[in-house]
Subunit: 389 residues, 3 copies
C-alpha cells in the first residue's frame, strides 16, 4: 500500500468495485502491521462497494467511528461495516460488521489508500509524445511524463515518478522516486523534491524570494542564488508557493504536509512532519520546528524561531519567536457588526481606559495591581519591508 496510490494495471473506473469485509480485514491487517491490529466482529461475507460517513452510509458501505463524539451516529447508522475502536464495540448495531482496531482513523486512512489504488486508473509509464524533453534529462525506470510537459536540461526524474500533463521541470531539478506531480506544476531550476511526494496543480517551487535593496532610485533586486530542497513524503496543495533561498536553500523537512494557497518565503526551514492549513504563510528566514501545526490563514512573520510542537490556531499572527510547545491564538472574535463597531472603537482607547482604572484604584487606595505598561519587544511592529534572507 504505497502512498502513491497508483493502482494495478487494468483498474477500470467504470467497473463497480466490490470487496468483502473479510478481504478488507486482511488488507488492513497487512497495512497496519499484523493480525493483532484488526479484529472482525460479525459477518465477514458482507459485500462492500463504497466508503461513506456514518450518517450517510448504506448497507453496502463501510464507514468509521474515530471521534467518540459521533458515537450516537453509530447507533443509528445503516452502514454494512464500520471501523471502530474496542471501546465503541458495544455500540455496534445488530447486523453491522465491525472491524475493531485501536486507531480507526489511521485504519480508515489506509483503507482509502487501498481503495483509491483499486478504483483509480494508474498513470501509464512512458513519455507522452507531445512532451518536450531535453536530451540531457535523465528518467528513472517506470517514469510517466504526461502530455505537453517540459523537462529541461540536466533534470532528473526518479524511478516510478509521475510528471503530470503540462508540468515544467526546470534545468537540473530533481524529482524523487515515486513522487507524483499533478498537471501544471512548476519545479524551478536546481530545486530538489524528495521521494514519495505529491504536488498538486498550480504549485510553484523555486520562484525567486522577495529580496530587494532599497535605494534612492527605487529597489534593486537581490538575485536569489539558493534553491529549494524538499524532503521525502511531502504533500503540497494546489497553488502553494515555495520560494528559492537568497543565499542557501529553503528547506522543507520529511513528511511535511502543506494545504492549498500557502506561501513559504525564501530561506524558511520547516521541520519534519509539520502541517500547514490553507492560506497560511511563513515569512523569510523563519525556522519552524518539527510536528507543528499552523492553522488556516495564519501568518508567521520573518526571522523567527518556532519550537517543535507549536500549534498556531487558524487566522492568528505569530510576531515573535515561540520557544515553548503549546497552542497559540490571536484573532479578533467575530460579532454582529454593530457590537464589533462599538467594541472596536473602544479598543482604540484601551490603553487610556487602563489608565483610568488605575486612577480610580489610586483614588481608592488600592494597592498597585497593574504591571508595567511598557510595550514588550514582542509586540513591536513587524517590518513590512522585504528583506534579503
Amino acid at each position: 500500500m504505497s502512498p502513491t496510490a497508483t493502482g494495478p494495471a487494468g483498474a477500470d473506473p467504470q467497473q463497480p468495485f466490490e470487496v468483502s469485509a473479510a478481504e478488507l480485514l486482511l488488507v488492513l491487517q497487512q497495512a497496519l502491521g499484523g493480525p493483532q491490529t484488526v479484529q472482525l466482529e460479525g459477518d465477514g461475507a458482507r459485500r462492500l462497494c463504497a466508503i461513506e460517513p456514518l450518517d450517510r452510509a448504506g448497507p453496502q458501505a463501510i464507514s468509521f467511528l474515530a471521534n467518540p463524539r459521533y458515537r450516537s451516529q453509530l447507533l443509528t447508522s445503516r452502514a454494512g461495516a464500520v471501523l471502530l475502536a474496542p471501546a465503541a464495540r458495544e455500540a455496534l448495531p445488530a447486523g453491522c460488521t465491525g472491524l475493531i482496531t485501536p486507531d480507526p482513523y489511521h485504519a480508515f486512512a489506509r483503507l482509502t489508500q487501498w481503495w483509491a489504488a483499486r478504483t483509480r486508473p494508474a498513470a501509464v509509464p512512458g513519455v507522452h509524445p507531445s512532451a518536450v524533453l531535453d536530451p540531457t534529462a535523465r528518467l528513472g525506470a517506470g517514469v510517466s511524463i504526461g502530455p505537453l510537459a517540459v523537462v529541461e536540461a540536466g533534470a532528473e526524474i526518479g524511478d516510478g515518478a509521475v510528471i503530470g500533463a503540462q508540468c515544467h521541470i526546470g534545468r537540473n531539478a530533481r524529482i524523487g522516486a515515486r513522487t507524483r506531480l499533478a498537471p501544471q506544476v512548476v519545479v524551478g531550476f536546481d530545486c530538489v523534491v524528495g521521494a514519495d511526494g505529491l504536488l498538486h496543480s498550480g504549485v510553484v517551487i523555486g520562484a525567486d524570494g522577495f529580496g530587494l535593496a532599497p535605494t534612492k532610485q527605487g529597489y534593486v533586486k537581490i538575485e536569489q542564488l539558493g534553491a529549494v530542497r524538499i524532503g521525502d513524503a511531502v504533500e503540497i496543495g494546489a497553488n502553494t508557493c515555495i520560494d528559492r533561498g537568497a543565499l542557501g536553500d529553503t528547506v522543507i523537512g520529511h513528511g511535511v504536509k502543506l494545504d492549498n494557497l500557502i506561501q513559504i518565503a525564501h530561506n524558511v526551514q520547516l521541520g519534519e512532519h509539520t502541517a500547514m492549513a490553507g492560506c497560511s504563510a511563513i515569512a523569510g528566514s523563519t525556522v519552524v520546528g518539527a510536528r507543528c501545526t499552523i492553522g488556516g490563514g495564519a501568518g508567521v512573520l520573518g526571522h523567527l524561531r518556532i519550537a517543535d510542537e507549536v500549534h498556531v490556531s487558524a487566522q492568528s499572527t505569530v510576531s515573535r519567536s515561540l520557544d515553548t510547545p503549546g497552542q497559540y491564538t490571536g484573532f479578533f472574535p467575530l460579532d454582529d457588526n454593530r457590537s464589533w463597531e462599538k467594541n472596536a472603537v473602544t479598543l482604540r482607547q484601551l490603553h487610556r481606559l487602563r489608565e483610568r482604572v488605575r486612577a480610580l484604584e489610586a483614588r481608592l487606595g488600592e494597592p498597585a495591581s497593574d504591571s508595567s505598561p511598557t510595550v514588550p519587544a514582542t509586540l513591536t511592529a513587524p517590518s513590512a519591508a522585504p528583506d534579503a534572507s
Copy 2:
C-alpha cells in the same frame, strides 16, 4: 445577450465600435424584459463609442448613476448619455441623453455584456491542432478547444463550451454547455462544472482535500475519494482552488460567484447565489447558505453551518456556526503603529482589567453588573489540525 459574451463572427477589435442611444434603448429593453423597462429622454441619435464612469465620460460615452451618493457627479458630467433611475431624472444635464430605468446598475451590467459581445472576438469553434484529446473524450456542438489544451479519457465538453489554451480537463470530468475556461485552468478527474460558467486562469478544481491521519510515524494520507460538483452560472476567479471531497463531493450551488485566490476545502457546500471576495477561505465540511456574501480575506473555520443571507465583513474570522442572517465582523481596527502597540499590550491584560473594574465596583457597593467571565464554546480555539471530511 448570453452570459458567455461571445460575439458575432467577424467582431473586429481594431474597428472602432459605435452605436446610437436609440439603438441602446432597444438593446436594453430586450435585455431587461420589454419596452416598459427603459425610457429614453433626449436625443436618441446621439452616437456613443465608449462606456465610462461619470467623472471621466466625454460626449461620446455612455455612463451610469447607480448610487445616489454620486449624484453630484451627474450634474457636472460631460457624458453623452447616462443610465439613471427615475428619481435622478431632474439631475440630468442639458444635452445629455437619459436612459431611465428602475435599476441602472443592472442595466449597466447588461450593457457591458452586449458591448463586450460586440467588441471582443469570439472563441472560434473547433479543436486547435496542437491540443491533445483522448479519443474517448466527447465534444458537444460548437465547442472550442484552445492550443495545447489536454482533454483526458472520458471527459465530456458541453455544446458551445470554450476550453482555453493550455487547460487540463481530467479523466471523466464534465464541462457544461456554454461554459468558458480561460487559459491554464485545471479541472480534475470526475469533477463536474455546470452550464454557463466562467473559470479564470489558474483555477484548480479537484485537487485533493487536506486529509491526514496523525500517527506516531507522521501523517498518513487519507485519499480523497469524492469529487467537485459545480452548478450552473458559476464564476470562479483566477488561482482559486476548490478541493475534491474526502467521502462525497464538494458542492458549489448555482449562481455562486468566487473572486481570485479563494480556498474552498473538501466537502464544503456553498448555497446558491453566494458570493465570496478575493483571498477568502472556507475550511473543510462547512456548509454555507444561499445568498451569503463573504468579504475579502475573511476565513470561515471548518465543520460549521452558516445560515442563508449571512454577510461576513472583509478580513473577519468566523469561528462558530451562524444561524441568524445579518452582518458579522471581526478584525482588529487599524491604528498608527504606536497607538496599536499600546492598545495591543493592554489587550493581553484585558481579562485582568475587567477583574480590577469588578473589584472597584464591589468596593463601592455597586450591584454586580458583570456577566459571567466563562469562556463560551464559540470562542474555543479552532483546531489547526487537518481533518478528513
Copy 3:
C-alpha cells in the same frame, strides 16, 4: 549589469565559478558609479567562489555586513571577503579582505546580479518549435519564446524579452523589452507589461475583475471592459493576480515589487516603487501612493486612497483612507490559547466595560475624561459585496 541577469553565452552551471576580490572591486565600482564608490582593504588576490552569509561563509566566500546588529558575526566570521560600511571597518577580521562601500546592502544586491549573470545559463534567443504563435504576433530582436508557449494574434513582444515555457500571451497584449516571464505565466488580452520586468510562474494578469450587479434572480455579470497596464521594472511574484479594470484600466506604477499570492483587484492604482509582501491584497478601485510598503497578509479595502510612503504592517487591515505617511498596524496580538480565550471573550464586552468605568468615575466625582463613544465613520463595516469599479 542589467536587471535581466541573463549571462554571457556559454555560462556553464557545471563549471565552478571563481573570481578575485580585485576583480569584484572593479565590477562593483562599475555597477555603483565609479572608483570612489568602493575601496579595497586587504588582499585583492583572494579567490572567491561563493556568496554566503557571515555566519556560514568560509575562506572562499564573500559575505556582507549591512545591519550593524550583526557586527558581532563579522568579528568571528571566516569569510574570505566582506562588503561593509566604513564605520564597520575596524571590525574586519585579520586576513579578511574588505570591500568598503557606504551602502553594503546595495552593493550586495549588485553583486548577486553580476554573480547570477555569470553562473546561470541565459535564455536562448529564438522561438522553440513547439510554441504556438499566431502569425500576426510581432517579436522584437533577440526574443526568446519557450517550449509550448502560446502567443495570440496581435501580441507584441519587445526586444530581448523572454517568454517562458507554457506561458500564454493573449490577443493584442504587449510585453516590454527585456522583460522576462517564468514558465506558466498568463497575460490576458489587451494587457500591457513594461520593460525590464520579471513575472514569476503562475502569475495571472488580466483576469476579470469581480463585478456583479445583484438582482432578484441572482448576480448579473458586469463585463470588465478595461485592461491592466504595468510600468517598467516591475517584479511580480508567483501566483499573484492583477485583474483587469471594469471601465478603464488597473494601473501598476514603475518599479513596483509584488511578492507571491497577492490579489490586486480591478481599477486599483499602485504608485511607483511601492512594494507588497506575500498574501496581501488591495480591493477594487483603491489608489495606493508611491513608495508604500504593504506587509504580508495585509488587506486594503476598496475605494480608499492611501498616501505616499504609508507603511502597513503585516496582517493588518486598512479600512479607511490614509492621508498621512507613517506606519500603521492592526492585528490581534498572539497569546497562549487560554489567555487569548479569556481576553477575547472580554473584548466582546469592552464597550460595556468602558461604561462601567465611566459609572465608577461619575460615582467618585471624577471629571469626564471620556471622549464620545460614537462610532467614527472610519470603523463602519466594510461592505462584503462585490462592486463594479
